[in-house]
């Protein structure tokens, strides 16, 4: 092992140093670091409430918003970097509220209605793209993810969203935790469960949209789920599980983006594969040492 890591470590540092000399790679890394914080923090509340599927749904719906943003951009003849992002944010937030309203009405997170919303959103996106033609290159990075295509303004927005989301979670942590562990008891304790449920799904929409250009529509939900699942295997408390999930996600994004630079592979795919690898390691460790051991 020692013989293997000795030559690898300087190689890794050399690759990182070279990579960080390029502004587009710097932006990619900052964007990746933001995703590595945002996704597992919100994912921790979603996964343990069995709402993991909502991330996937919101990503596919947000895709319609991206397509609408690109469509408007082509109509206006501008090159506004944030128009697709703004479109995605509006559409995903509206969808999040609609999904929560449906679940409040039917008293259950309905996977059939979510599947309809998911495929419907993606279908609207594909129709808009075909109507406006010539958008295939722009839309590709949103479907498959491309951290190196993240613009300067987008990075600023991501950093701002990260700070905002963390602040909101810090203030509402007790409420979100209570509802995650025991929603009915939280209602009896007269915590405003409905308002916090809406807040959580809207935060999920914000995170999905922020992470979409890095991870792509198809893989963005993985960052909400996989690091949280890995942390859940070995964490000894809920608070520690959030910290651990962020560490797993950061490890995955930094190594995934580095691998994409050194080996010319898709960054989003590499990030998710590293995260899954870490999940397997966590699951093996749990088998050996027991829960939270």
């Amino acid at each position: 092992m020692k013989g293997l890591t000795e030559p690898l470590t300087p190689l890794f540092i050399k690759a990182m140093a070279e990579m960080l000399s390029f502004p587009f790679m710097q932006r990619a890394l900052v964007a990746g670091l933001c995703v590595g914080i945002l996704a597992p923090v919100i994912g921790s509340f979603l996964v343990h409430r069995r709402m993991a599927f909502i991330g996937d749904t919101l990503a596919h719906v947000a895709f319609a918003g991206v397509a609408a943003g690109l469509f408007v951009r082509s109509l206006l003849g501008t090159d506004g970097d944030l128009l697709p992002l703004a479109g995605a944010l509006v559409v995903a937030a509206v969808a999040a509220v609609a999904i929560q309203a449906i679940s409040d009405y039917t008293d259950v997170y309905n996977d059939v209605s979510m599947a309809i919303v998911l495929s419907g959103g993606f279908a609207v996106g594909t129709v808009l793209i075909s109507l406006s033609g010539g958008l295939a290159v722009g839309i590709r990075s949103y479907i498959f993810g491309n951290p190196t295509a993240v613009g300067r303004a987008h990075v600023y927005v991501m950093v701002a969203l990260t700070v905002l989301v963390i602040l909101i979670v810090a203030v509402t942590y007790k409420h979100l935790l209570y509802i995650t562990i025991d929603e009915e008891a939280a209602r009896v304790a007269r915590l405003d469960v409905a308002r916090h449920n809406y807040l959580l799904v809207v935060l999920a929409a914000v995170v999905v949209v922020a992470a979409m250009q890095v991870m792509g529509v198809i893989l963005v939900a993985a960052m909400l789920v996989v690091p949280v699942a890995a942390a859940g295997q070995i964490a000894s408390s809920f608070k520690r599980s959030i910290v651990l999930a962020v560490l797993v996600a950061e490890g995955a994004t930094v190594s995934g983006i580095t691998l994409s630079y050194t080996h010319d592979v898709a960054a989003s795919g590499a990030i998710v594969l590293v995260a899954i690898g870490l999940y397997v390691l966590a699951a093996v460790r749990r088998r050996r040492t027991g829960i939270g051991g």
Partner: protein, 245 residues
């Protein structure tokens, strides 16, 4: 003074009613055992009493206010159905669960030293102080149940509402649990308990309410075991097995 006042309440999730014209008063300091066959509407009645559901007709008052509008969550401790069963794998410790009981007191603010002290005290009282850092998932049914009872106590509530909390709990833990409920009741806490084991509940509660869509009986436990309410609600095959403790 009445803690809960249910007046002519009817309720149905669909067109079929689950409860019909139920009237019931729970007085301060009472230990009410709420019993009835499976699907009799006792959990629904409890949820109506706590303001989680709105009655179709009639009214429910909680501490003198309309139950749906009652806003002071600090006055109610609640342990829901099946808490002693295996949890969903949430990586949460015993102490984290017990601390939830202090959240209605803290609101959006931080917990204070006084809150942490109360959490430590109730964990000691329920015998789970040694388990504080253990993950809930790694505990036995009885230990998990005590954790949720401790959460309800940490709330320093005047009313403790428990919905079949002993499902999945071994006999010894159940005895300890009932001793604890007895002590809490002696301390003045009003207790509202749904329990499927008639023998256990009739030997501990100070009053029994038996529902099966209608209220079949409301009165002291001896009247319930001696009278016809059991046959009315459960059918002739049911009998009460007295527990010697």
């Amino acid at each position: 003074m009445s803690v809960i006042d249910v007046e002519n309440v009817s309720f149905g999730y669909t067109d079929t009613s689950v409860l019909e014209d139920v009237s019931l008063v729970v007085d301060e300091g009472e230990f009410l055992g709420l019993v009835g066959p499976n699907g009799s509407g006792k959990s629904t009645l409890l949820r109506l009493m706590l303001g989680l559901l709105r009655p179709d007709t009639g009214s429910v008052r909680l501490f003198g206010e309309h139950a749906r509008e009652f806003a002071d969550g600090r006055r109610i401790g609640y342990v829901g159905q099946g808490v002693a069963r295996a949890d969903r794998g949430i990586p949460v410790t015993v102490e984290e669960v017990v601390r939830l009981g202090r959240f209605p007191h803290a609101g959006y603010g931080r917990l204070r030293e006084e809150d942490y002290q109360i959490v430590r005290d109730v964990m000691e009282r329920t015998g789970i102080d040694q388990l504080a850092d253990r993950r809930l998932q790694a505990l036995s049914g009885g230990q998990r149940q005590r954790t949720f009872i401790a959460r309800a106590l940490a709330c320093e509530a005047e009313l403790l509402a428990l919905d079949e909390p002993t499902v999945g709990v071994d006999a010894e833990s159940r005895d300890t649990f009932y001793d604890l409920l007895g002590q809490l009741n002696e301390d003045g806490i009003t207790i509202l308990l749904i329990e499927h084991d008639l023998g256990v509940v009739t030997s501990h509660a100070t009053a029994i309410a038996c529902v099966d869509r209608h209220l079949h009986y409301h009165g002291d436990p001896s009247g319930f075991t001696d009278g016809n309410a059991i046959v009315d609600a459960y059918g002739a095959a049911q009998r009460v097995i007295e527990h010697d403790h």
